[in-house]
Amino acid sequence: MTHPQKVVIVPCSGIGKTYGTVSREAAFEVTEDVRPADTQLVALSMLVLGDEAARAAVAESPAITIDGCKLACATKMVKESGGTVAQDFAVLDVYRRYRQFKPQGIAELSEGGQQLAHALAEEITGVVENITSNGDGGQNG
């Protein structure tokens, strides 16, 4: 079975914030290592800039957003770009589920941060599998 549309992953673009780094590390793990054939990374900054390719990607495919803080920029921008958010993750909520993985560091995550990013990547992968196996985008505010 083929899936012509990839699941778009849009992480937080917060630079200088640990939770933003966790979100991006998790996104890289899913899109580059775990499910490269089924997923596509879209940079939030490109959506903010109104990049046509980025807007087209989120408009055509279900998106998983990863927000680093309560401003939820990734989720808001996907919606504003005409996309459908199949699942939104907040790093803070993920950390509450994995308290043993305390994230620290920015340019380079601590071991706990890397473990948290990996745990988040596993959760995202599960959602990707659900989406691709169902063949639809799902919907989650």
Partner: protein
């Protein structure tokens, strides 16, 4: 209805509820008889960041002013919070277990930490700051913080 003193520093707005007393650390204390509800000021919660976990000492814990009453872990820091009153913890906000973000969302309301049965509230209150005094202190602290941005 609670009224607030309010100030804007840089892009941030900070409120101080006028119906309670404050420690210089930024904890508020509001009396209902000798039951004293405590929590974080708006400035303290904003400066600390989004709360991931809040661990309040258990019910029955006897505290002196300055004893640790709770710790909070935020996206920025781990903070030890000290009691503004002498007494015994008689109730803990259940939201601290399941939804500690209430501290950020409603610091003077749903985000309260605990209720302490005061040993001598009048004596404790005399050592705390009234809202105007805390507002002045807080504004100075906020302006200092803003210089670091």
């Amino acid at each position: 209805m609670t009224e607030f003193l309010e100030t804007t520093v840089d892009k941030f707005i900070f409120k101080v509820a006028t119906d309670r007393s404050y420690s210089s650390e930024g904890l508020w204390a509001q009396a209902d008889g000798n039951r004293i509800r405590i929590g974080l000021s708006d400035f303290l919660q904003q400066r600390s960041g989004d709360v991931a976990f809040a661990d309040v000492k258990p019910v029955g814990t006897v505290l002196a002013v300055g004893d640790e009453v709770a710790t909070i872990e935020t996206i920025k820091v781990n903070i030890s919070l000290t009691s503004p009153v002498n007494g015994k913890i008689v109730e803990i906000n259940p939201a601290m277990q399941d939804a500690p973000e209430a501290i950020n969302q409603d610091p003077y309301g749903e985000g309260w930490l605990a209720i302490i049965e005061a040993a001598d509230w009048e004596a404790d209150k005399a050592a705390l700051l009234d809202p105007q005094a805390y507002f002045k202190l807080m504004r100075g602290q906020a302006e200092e913080e803003a210089k670091k941005l």
